[in-house]
Amino acid sequence: MSPGGEKAARRTRNRMTDDVIATRARALAGALAESGFARLRVRDGETEIELRRAPRTSPAAVAIALLSADPDRAAERPPDRAEVVSSDVVGIVRLMRPAIAEGQELEGDREVAYVETLGIRNPVRSRGAGRVSAVFVTDGQPVEYGQPLFTIER
């Protein structure tokens, strides 16, 4: 699911690596957000990517479900009034201890993680109270600009 790292994509025939899937899924999420459609499914070789738009959310809050990677996630949808917290740099995400988890109630504004870019810590803050409704990343995962990290239900 990471855009890089050890399992870096090699050129393959018709079969996408997780890295490529993640990149494409993010690209498709943008297209879906612009299109006004509720659901987008792309099949390419052995891989199928399905995206469903969460009801009444911002473009960034489109839920990404990678059927080939983890079929269970397809059913997940961020709830109403979910706010997506995204990375604004390219780097490695580090979760603060105790690590943020789904269902967790956050109080006030706190630094829940940081993204490390060339040794620099770029803090990721919760920006107010709310319930963590989804965590899209794991500690140590590479993320790109604009990549959703968590959704917080206010």
């Binding site: 890089g4 050129r11 990149t23 390219v90 870019t117």
Partner: protein
């Protein structure tokens, strides 16, 4: 050889580099801005990272995000293409600091050639002819003194200049102070560097440049010259050719020899271009571009060399795969830049959605492009949509081939330079060969007069 290369660019040159990497069996990582999410350069790469929003300062010039993407994805090298960070010595240094090979010359060489006054001094010392003029002048008064010594007309140039910015031609002493002030202000605004110098202004010279290539083991070769004299009033190139037409063979040989000598003198490695102004039997060093150029395909087509692959091989420490004696040009090549611009309105750039895109094909035609039917041209970047390149056994056959290729081309949705370039190709003076850089601006003036 590298295992994975990050391509720190967008558009057709990103695709060009991607092709070279794949043909060498190297995996690729693209970077893209939010505005380029649907671009072909993203689609064709093995991996891709969004590095920022549309504006270039936050994406394609975002050094930390770009270097970080290279490290995260396990790249061992970065190809900068042209523009953006291609001639940014600091970027090359940062890449090296992080263990990434920068595919280009050494940072010190980039820095020296990037400062135009320094480059001119170095070249002068190496015995390369340079236009009469000054080192950096501190004020308009100092510039005036130089101008009166070398004689008017003169050119005021910003040492950090490029793309015509920070540059003014001055015909008389009276005009100089105002011209100096505006050019300097422009340079400060554009490059945060207001240092200026003065040069003799040549009247309608030809722009002829020599492609050089050098490995890290002392191997140096030239791949002939290109004629890039068809320039818009903004000094941007529009049509390029290799070889230069109507060029005295003796002058050609001298240009080639000087280029090789200069390349050795500055300790240059990788692919580079020495730009000269040619006036009569004389030529003068203008600048050295320490990167691959937009118009490199015309050279590739007549020499049968893949310059981008050679860049990568050289950066990986390989020696040149050829010597000067192996290099022989065959035929003549011509390139037309298909820009999203309105030639009837000062080439003002256009953005929008390309509703129809049909490119030409068949014998002797090469198309380098990142656009397709339905593609969006974002407002943030330069207006180059495609390069159409024609090669033929003679200049005439290459031009005829280009005419039929442009006739096959259909791009709808934004205005382009296609039909305008057909007009230029049909012009008798252009056909005769040997026009100077003042020709196209004069052609535009005549054309506007006819229309109105």
């Amino acid at each position: 050889m590298f295992k994975k290369v990050l391509i720190a660019n967008r558009g057709e040159i990103a695709l060009r580099i991607n092709r070279a990497c794949h043909e060498l069996g190297i995996a690729t990582v693209a970077i893209f801005s939010d505005a380029d999410r649907q671009s072909l350069h993203v689609r064709h790469a093995d991996e891709a990272f969004c590095v920022g929003p549309g504006p270039v300062a936050r994406s394609y010039l975002n050094i930390p995000n770009i270097i970080s993407a290279a490290l995260i994805s396990g790249c061992d090298a970065i190809h900068p293409g042209y523009g953006f960070l291609a001639e940014n010595a600091r970027f090359a240094e940062i890449a090296a600091d992080h263990g990434l090979t920068f595919i280009g010359p050494k940072p010190s060489v980039i820095a020296a050639m990037g400062d135009k006054a320094t480059a001119k001094r170095i070249m002068h010392e190496a015995g390369v002819p340079t236009t009469p003029g000054s080192d950096i002048v501190a004020s308009a008064d100092e510039a005036l003194a130089v101008a009166e010594k070398i004689g008017f007309p003169v050119l005021l140039k910003a040492t950090a200049g490029g793309g015509g910015k920070g540059m003014r031609g001055v015909a008389t002493a009276a005009e100089l102070p105002t011209a100096f002030a505006t050019a300097q202000a422009e340079a400060e605004a554009s490059f945060k560097d207001g240092r200026m110098y003065v040069e003799k202004l040549l009247v309608n010279p030809r722009h002829i440049e020599v492609q050089v290539i050098a490995d890290e083991h002392g191997g140096v070769a030239h791949l002939g010259e290109r004629d890039c004299s068809v320039q818009k009033p903004s000094h941007q190139k529009l049509i390029e050719e290799a070889s230069a037409p109507a060029l005295d063979p003796n002058l050609r040989d001298r240009l080639h020899a000087v280029a090789v000598k200069a390349t050795r003198a500055v300790g240059y490695t990788n692919a580079g271009t020495l730009e000269f102004l040619v006036a009569g039997d004389d030529f003068y060093f203008m600048e050295m571009n320490t990167r691959i150029q937009v118009e490199h395909p015309v050279t590739e087509l007549i020499y049968g060399v893949d310059l981008v692959k050679e860049q990568i091989r050289i950066a990986a420490g390989e020696p040149l795969g050829f010597t000067q004696d192996d290099l022989h040009p065959h035929g003549h090549a011509i390139e037309v830049r298909v820009n999203a611009e309105d030639p009837d309105n000062n080439f003002s750039p256009a953005a929008g959605t390309l509703t129809t895109v049909v490119f030409p094909g068949g014998p002797g035609i090469r198309v380098d492009t990142h656009v397709y039917g339905g593609a969006v041209v974002p407002p943030f970047y330069d207006s180059l949509l495609a390069k159409i390149v024609a090669v033929g056994r003679s200049r005439e056959s290459a031009i005829l081939r280009m005419e039929r290729a442009l006739g096959e081309t259909r791009i709808e949705g934004v205005k382009t330079t296609v039909e305008f370039c057909r007009e230029v190709l049909a012009n008798e003076e252009f056909r005769a060969g040997g026009i100077g850089v003042g020709w196209l601006p004069a052609f535009l003036t005549r054309r506007a007069a006819v229309v109105s």
